[in-house]
């Protein structure tokens, strides 16, 4: 077990390092630097600027310098978006907003998705089940940005129930969170339904019923615990998905979060900012994946982590 954890942490660290290095090298490979404006600065000015930001050294040296500083939490300064402001500062400002929306939507997705699946499985083949299945199937097909745009049109522009943009009050959280959580909610609902149907066919459930276990204890102790496994596996991709949805939702609803900033820094070619956001976001996803894998082991001790199961 300990070996496994160490191995996984090693792979996770390697992944983040790989991403950081690749991004850095690719950034330097593209023609056109951050100082390319419509009116190109003279060569001497360019040289001075490059020297100031350490861009005149060879790429490997720059990379090592950068990584050394990054470990200490110094990501350099933004070159274009917010000139000369330390990036660590910018991220400190932006990240809590994105994290709040992301966490809320993960919570909503899990807390609504599991009951939806349970209700559907409980009413298998009946009207309610079919209705929920249609809704969840649709929910998986409609891309997040389409949903965001449509919701904004109906609820903000037409009915004016919610503010269109920004984060002014609690009301403005509702639509972004709903949009972000809709797809995972439907997905979790479907997962729960099918795994619940699977689990209820097992012998130990029949035994429990025969023993006269109360329905509440049956659902919570015997069924739900076993069906949580596939949902747990989905939590890793869910984080990545929320991240990706965050890009769109923050763009559509003009929320000043990290995702929107990431897109803008890409479009503006603010290299240090792209680097920093990439490293932060990928570290987040990799850590989430790692955590899910480890929790997986805790929940289901049957899983053999050391070796891959051969089928």
């Amino acid at each position: 077990m300990l070996m496994y954890i160490i191995k996984r942490i090693f792979i996770a660290a390697a992944t983040v390092l790989l991403i950081a290095c690749t991004t850095f090298i690719m950034m330097n490979a593209i023609p056109g630097g951050p100082f390319m404006a419509e009116k190109a600065p003279s060569q001497s000015v360019l040289d001075a600027l490059n020297a100031k930001y350490g861009l005149d050294k060879p790429v490997p040296v720059q990379l090592v310098n950068y990584l050394k500083a990054a470990v200490k939490g110094d990501f350099g300064v933004s070159l274009r978006m917010q000139k000369n402001r330390p990036i660590a500062d910018i991220i400190k400002d932006m990240f809590p907003i994105s994290a709040k929306i992301g966490l809320l939507s993960v919570l909503v997705a899990v807390l609504l998705g599991i009951p939806i699946g349970c209700i559907a499985a409980y009413n298998q083949g009946k009207f309610l089940d079919n209705l929920l299945r249609i809704i969840t199937t649709l929910g998986i097909a409609v891309p997040g940005f389409v949903l965001a745009a449509l919701l904004q049109y109906w609820l903000c522009v037409k009915l004016a129930w919610f503010p269109c943009i920004g984060l002014s009050s609690w009301k403005s959280y509702i639509l972004p969170v709903f949009t972000l959580s809709f797809y995972p909610m439907c997905y979790i609902g479907r997962l729960t339904r099918s795994s619940m149907l699977d689990v209820t066919k097992q012998d130990y459930i029949r035994t429990a019923i025969a023993k006269g276990v109360s329905p509440v204890s049956l659902i919570f102790k015997h069924t739900l615990r076993n069906e949580l496994l596939p949902i747990l596996t989905y939590l890793g991709p869910l984080t990545a998905g929320t991240l990706m949805g965050g890009f769109v939702v923050e763009s559509v609803f003009s929320i000043p979060g990290l995702g929107r900033y990431f897109i803008q820094s890409i479009l503006n070619r603010d290299y240090p900012l792209i680097m920093a956001t990439t490293i932060c976001l990928s570290a987040l996803v990799v850590i989430m994946n790692l955590a899910v894998d480890l929790v997986y082991k805790l929940v289901d001790p049957r899983i053999n982590l050391g070796r891959e199961v051969k089928n």
């Binding site: 792979i11 996770a12 390697a14 992944t15 790989l18 991403i19 991004t23 690719m26 950034m27 490979a29 593209i30 023609p31 056109g32 559907a120 299945r133 199937t137 649709l138 998986i140 097909a141 409609v142 891309p143 940005f145 389409v146 745009a149 449509l150 904004q152 049109y153 522009v157 479907r190 997962l191 339904r193 099918s194 149907l197 596939p230 990545a240 991240l243 990706m244 890009f247 769109v248 763009s251 559509v252 990431f262 897109i263 890409i266 479009l267 792209i274 990439t278 976001l281 990928s282 996803v285 990799v286 994946n289 891959e308 051969k310 089928n311």
Partner: protein, 359 residues
């Protein structure tokens, strides 16, 4: 009851042979029996199952209709997708510009702008059809790229086993844990400029043809080829591990077949069902990803449009022209929905063993 010569009453109670049982079957009966007992090939069975699946067939028909709409539609409309009609900017659905009304009053026939026009005076009906075409094509091609790379990688890794397998699978692990959307965004923004230069410089007809669609499309393909094959590779590897210990592979090996031949002739044909299903499931996610990138402005470049960029364009004029938002949104959602449903049906038909993860 008279005693029959072939009576087996003593052994099987309640069952007696009748003289008719020994007459020759008529031609019709023979035909019936043949049909009932014919083992039916894998494909015939699958087709029968698929035909019986109403939802999947409806999805398939809808997809065919959309494809026809996208492929043949532009031929029937006299406008071009990049053509800007002067004086016809920003028309609503079925509206006409002043000059067109004059023409109609003069007795000339004018093709209506069924979905209206955009702010540059481009006919949105044609644009929507072209956008659908590009979106679907990207989805299909990207899925094929993923399928080819994933199948090759997975079957080689699974078949060779041992250290090769270990290293190949660790590579898959690392790619798997990359936050794909982040990498997609980065790559597609970074590849864009060098690729554009490359296309502008190259005299190869093929490249300039693709380049016409914008580098966005190419970077999407590159991203798919680099990142998205890992899921397919894992599934195929699992299949190959199972297949390679079976007797027919051992037999082929004993007869001296090379590894390449065994993979090509024995293993891949046996997991063709899975390969088709996985490819089918990749299409909607490819379409989704492409429209996502286009929506953020990193996909197909103007004047070409895909459904994602049409939706992004419509956001600014949402209040005035809701139809511009609604139409591409509905088409995109319906395409993805139909591919999902058809893929589900295909999986049930081709690969009954694959666990149904969704109800």
């Amino acid at each position: 009851m008279t005693k029959q010569p072939f009576s087996m009453q003593s052994r099987f109670k309640g069952f007696e042979f009748q003289p008719e049982d020994f007459t020759k079957a008529s031609a019709e009966e023979q035909e019936n029996l043949k049909e009932k007992l014919s083992p039916g090939s894998y494909w015939k069975d699958a087709w029968r199952k698929l035909r019986g699946n109403v939802v999947a067939m409806c999805a398939c028909i809808l997809l065919l209709l959309i494809t026809i709409f996208a492929l043949l539609g532009p031929i029937c409309v006299p406008y071009h997708d990049a053509e800007q009609l002067r004086g016809a900017e920003g028309l609503g659905p079925m509206q006409y510009s002043a000059s067109e009304i004059n023409k109609m009053n003069a007795g000339e026939a004018v093709f209506p702008h069924i979905f209206g026009t955009d702010t540059h005076g481009r006919d949105l009906f044609v644009r929507t059809m072209q956008a659908t075409r590009i979106s679907v094509l990207i989805g299909v091609f990207a899925a094929m790229i993923v399928c080819i790379i994933g199948t090759l990688y997975g079957s080689v890794s699974g078949y060779l086993g041992g250290k090769v397998d270990f290293i190949m699978m660790r590579i898959v692990d690392i790619i798997y844990s990359l936050p794909d959307i982040l990498v997609v965004l980065l790559l597609s923004s970074i590849i864009k400029a060098p690729l554009q230069n490359f296309i502008n410089d190259s005299k190869n007809k093929f490249f300039s043809l693709i380049g016409g669609f914008g580098v966005g499309i190419i970077s999407i393909f590159i991203v798919f080829a680099l990142l998205f094959w890992v899921g397919t590779a894992r599934i195929i590897r699992g299949q190959v591990l199972m297949l390679k210990s079976q007797e027919f592979v051992t037999a082929a090996k004993a007869l001296g077949a090379s590894s390449g031949r065994i993979i090509r002739k024995h293993i891949i044909p046996n997991c063709i069902g899975q390969i088709i299903v996985i490819t089918m499931m990749q299409i909607p996610s490819a379409i989704f990803l492409e429209s996502f990138l286009s929506f953020l402005g990193l996909g197909v470049s103007a004047p070409h449009a895909t459904l994602g960029s049409l939706i992004a364009d419509s956001l600014s004029g949402m209040r005035m022209y809701p139809s511009r938002l609604l139409i591409p949104s509905v088409i995109l959602s319906v395409i993805i929905l139909c591919f999902n449903l058809f893929g589900d049906g295909l999986r049930d038909a081709l690969d009954p063993r694959m666990k149904r993860e969704s109800g």
